[in-house]
Symmetry: C2
Subunit: 635 residues, 2 copies
């Protein structure tokens, strides 16, 4: 087997800078980010024969930054030059990467003028990295790409070269913030806020050069855990003063610090409930401490009862975030962002959009995605996620946040093709209107320009393929408890986690209707609530999320539920076999290390897809007793 | 909550020595074990006013040891004295504890003469203790009583007081050997055989004073792991010489060393298969190294494919030990004991007796039991196991071996009532014909003399109660994968472990008949093979072990399988509720620490029994669609 590269260049290989690097380029503006632009250009020119011009010289490209903090820029032609006129230094950096993405086309005399600015002001990657290795979750919780690029042996790594490379990659996608520690804030990580702050400042210094601000996940009980107070009550004066003073020190160390991320009263994390306060009390207390600065509290809405009794069918975890947060609409301070998972459950392959996103017009909301593929193949499976993400109402959000998939793996993301999700999340945060397949094409063109056809064949429909061979029709879960990889249909069925499918010999699915179920469907605005309420109109792919139906229920597609299960599972596994063949046939133009890594993962994806197919089909055949209409092998 | 005692006195509280300690006692004989007897007697007399007599003085009790190595003794009356005439020092020690058990009755003038000698020459407790804490299994694999009493922080504990106390407790039951490390021999533990041997010798010194010999679990690949050789091929001369030399050094350090225990080619452990050799080759190689000494190789028959494809219904894990070992009958050397788990699967609550025990007349066999309650409630549930054990063909075995349940818990076994299993395994190894409830009565009389009635109420039927609310009719497993506590009906159904129930909407169970199944039933001698082969004659409690039957199949008891499942699960949980009430009502005469610990465990047992009841009932109701004839709540 060939050796993988020490660190893969991802979507910024030297060749991506060819068009830019062969030009005469003038750069106007001042400051750290303009210096970064200058250094990028100088490096490109050194490789491809271009040069940086003096003022007044004729230039092929003019990069010009004004002095505002806006991230927008205009790109167009002026005489013989392509001009990027940026609102400020950050915009210039984004403009530079726009030129990189366009390649030769950026210098087309017919280039039409366009203005670019981010749809969402906050575009952040949250790292679930632990400073210490957690005994159960390891160093990166739900991480499938090795250790943390930030932390090692309980403190900041000595060699931070990869952090710089990472900052550069993120900047090229449009990401402008990074949270450097896990939302489950254990003891060592709680100290990052105080005596560990120097390490955070070091990271902030590296990210700053690429226009990326650092955020910290904080422990709501930090005043107690750090031993300073015996309460963390958000209405207690001493607590409020503690956060104020602590925050002052954070900004002394990191003047452009981005803010706090909080998982409170969720899955065992501490929070305001302990003191009889609500989430608004908790969030606003931190908001008050941050108010003097340009920074935000992000408060996660992922709150539910994780000690539910499976026998109790009236409790519906899908309702939880809505029931906890919608009543608080209007009570959050302006510098609070409530961070809402994209679906009401937990990053499943298929969920409806969270109704919280429509229910809080007087609250700033961010949508949270999971780039790390916890439930979507753990970077062993090819699963290009933007077709799912682009269905979300991102335009109106205050931010797009995503759990990072990056680790110290040579390919950054374990599976080389998983880089595409990381790339795309930044691009969609900047412009949610982008066509997901166009973004994929961008990524391929930059990263693996010789593989356009094969990668489109493998990736375009890979999310749908993954959906085909895993849990059917929006029912979700059916994964092995704990690590969440591979099938276990009843794995969560009789647990306290609130993730049930209620399959019996007659049917399957969760009745979340208003008429006969948990009422969850009624939490949506019309027409969605009506659409979901009726079996007849509920989209097939969400049917079992909203309805408990018999196995012989006929879908809108015309097939029965049980036959759909069989058909999609046979089809999905077959498609993976085809993907594997397709990749093996593409050996020619591919870097052998990339080819080997992808081939090894496709072997596992095929094994796993067949395991999913056989377990799901067998389970439902044993329950329903209905044979496959096509007589295929079910065990 | 009241503090537990530092170490509970178990079945040897001072009061147990009252009758003995108030007598005049003459002791005749010499040697280490006679000194132990003398010291026990002196201590008892110091508490209760008796005394040790000089030769010629009138004595109430004469303890007299001859000089053989036999463990037998006679007890009877001679004139005004009770006399224990032992074949040798070990017999004297056993005789002493016989007198303790009998209490005042030992001094009854009408005492009839009896000869006692052990039915099984080897009676050993195997400790699955790791020297290092294992990342998954912890320090004691399948241990539910805290850390190891032998090992801590990667080496022998400094304070070995508890080891001495443990040796004394075991001697009082009849145990004569202890294996001091886990059969899964990890790297640190492999070194116990060589550079760690001094620590084993220290333990041997403590156990020796109570007539207990120390055994070691060894890694078959030790010559390779310890870096001495590049092969562990049992037919390789260098390997044979390595084991011979290594064994010589073991006996230099521990002249009465008892032998090696080996788990080879099982669940990932190394073994002779690597070199194209079979189990007889492997065992006999070690036997040759041990041949100059009075010691044995115990070679475990627990060998099966743990990477089975669940889709493959022709492979039957229950057959594995038979298929591997029965053909080797007659090929094992005389100092090899093949150690066979009592059932063909793995220590389930109900299994048929392993057919290997009838299939190897030319091989010395030991039966292996699990005192540690891995699948029988993990010492959170009351489950008195001897009624199961006493059904085994122990009389003809060369040894009784049992996985210990002891840890550094103040009560030794976590649950105070779990001490009874530990006590009983030694007593049954000495005399398999003992009535399990009489042994329980002995244990109660020694340990909790004021609680005879309540403990019989709680414990007599506790194994049957446990069976009622867990996996039904001998089908086994249905536990949470990994830790094996609590129900998960499909937890192992689609895994590589070979532990399936094949429940579908029509029926449940494993067809192991010769006529239509895996043929396992045919591995038994007649009449068992015929009995098991037919649904009509197969005992109800093993029906699903041998047959796949419809839910409406009528049992010999007259009820259907499905109704039996419902009835037993309701009844089992109800019985646990009754046990809890019974214990709470017994608060008066009980040590508060014991009462609190047992009460806390009964709370958990009740919660768990109700969880089992509801999951099992719900699972089978959802599958079968057949309602409970008595209309009770099924979720």
């Amino acid at each position: 087997m060939s050796q993988p590269p020490e660190v893969h260049s991802a979507w910024l290989p030297p060749s991506a800078f060819r068009a830019l690097g062969s030009r005469r380029i003038r750069i106007e503006g001042r400051g750290l980010l303009v210096d970064t632009v200058r250094s990028e250009v100088a490096q490109a020119c050194a490789s491809f024969g271009g040069r940086i011009c003096e003022p007044g010289e004729p230039a092929d490209l003019v990069l010009d930054a004004s002095v505002t903090s806006s991230e927008g820029f205009r790109i167009g032609r002026l005489g013989e030059s392509t001009v990027v006129a940026a609102d400020g230094p950050a915009g210039l950096l984004h403009g530079l990467f726009e030129v990189v993405r366009r390649g030769e086309a950026a210098f087309d005399p017919a280039l039409a003028e366009e203005r670019h600015e981010p749809a969402l002001p906050l575009r952040v990657l949250d790292h679930w990295d632990n400073v210490d290795v957690h005994p159960v979750m390891g160093q990166v919780e739900r991480g499938y790409s090795g250790g943390s690029i930030f932390w090692r042996n309980g403190r900041l790594r000595e060699d931070l070269t990869r952090v710089r490379g990472y900052a550069r990659l993120l900047a090229a996608t449009g990401i402008n913030a990074v949270t450097v520690n896990n939302v489950n804030v254990h003891t060592t990580e709680t100290h990052l806020l105080t005596d560990g702050l120097g390490q955070v400042a070091t990271l902030a210094g590296i990210f700053r050069a690429y226009g990326i601000r650092v955020h910290l996940s904080v422990n709501f009980a930090a005043p107690v855990i750090l031993g300073d107070l015996d309460t963390a009550d958000p209405l207690d004066d001493a607590v409020r003063q503690w956060w104020k003073r602590t925050t002052e020190r954070v900004f002394e160390a990191i003047p452009d610090f981005g803010g706090y991320l909080v998982k409170a009263d969720s899955e065992g994390q501490p929070g305001p409930f302990t003191y009889g306060r609500d989430h608004a009390d908790g969030a606003n207390m931190l908001a008050a401490a941050l108010a003097p600065y340009d920074a935000v509290v992000r408060w996660r809405a992922f709150v539910y009862n994780h000690r539910q009794d499976w026998r109790d069918r009236t409790t519906d975890r899908a309702r939880a975030a809505f029931d906890h947060f919608a009543p608080l609409d209007g009570r959050f301070d302006d510098n609070v962002i409530v961070q809402v998972k994209h679906g009401p459950m937990d990053f499943q392959t298929r969920e409806p959009v969270s109704p919280v996103l429509f229910a809080m017009p007087y609250t700033r909301l961010a949508v949270e995605l999971q780039v790390t593929q916890e439930y979507t193949g753990q970077q062993k499976h090819v699963c290009y996620l933007p077709p799912m993400w682009s269905s979300l109402p991102l335009r109106s959000a205050a931010g797009l946040t995503a759990v990072s998939s990056v680790g110290d793996d040579p390919f950054w993301t374990g599976h080389p093709l998983a880089q595409a999700n990381l790339y795309a999340v930044g691009r969609l945060g900047w412009n949610p209107g982008l066509d997901p397949l166009a973004v994929l094409d961008e990524w391929i063109s930059l990263t693996f320009p010789g593989l356009r056809e094969v990668l489109h064949d493998l990736m375009d429909d890979s999310w749908q393929t993954y959906e085909q061979y895993t849990a059917p029709l929006g029912v979700g879960f059916m994964v092995r408890p704990g690590h969440h990889y591979g099938p276990d249909v009843d794995g969560y069925e009789y647990t306290p986690w609130g993730t049930y499918h209620f399959a019996d010999r007659d049917g399957v699915g969760v009745d979340r209707t208003v008429a006969t179920g948990t009422g969850f469907a009624g939490l949506y605005p019309k027409p969605f609530s009506q659409l979901y309420e009726s079996r007849a109109t509920c989209p097939d792919e969400l049917l079992l999320f909203f309805h408990h139906v018999p196995y012989d229920h006929v879908l809108q597609s015309g097939t029965t539920v049980i036959q759909h299960i069989y058909d999609t599972h046979f089809a999905g596994a077959e498609r993976v076999a085809g993907m594997r063949e397709r990749w093996l046939s593409a050996a020619g133009p591919v870097d052998p290390a990339v080819h080997a890594r992808v081939a090894e993962r496709l072997d596992e994806q095929l094994r796993s897809a067949e395991e999913w197919r056989d377990q799901i089909n067998t389970y439902f055949y044993r329950k329903s007793g209905i044979p496959d209409a096509k007589g295929r092998t079910i065990h």
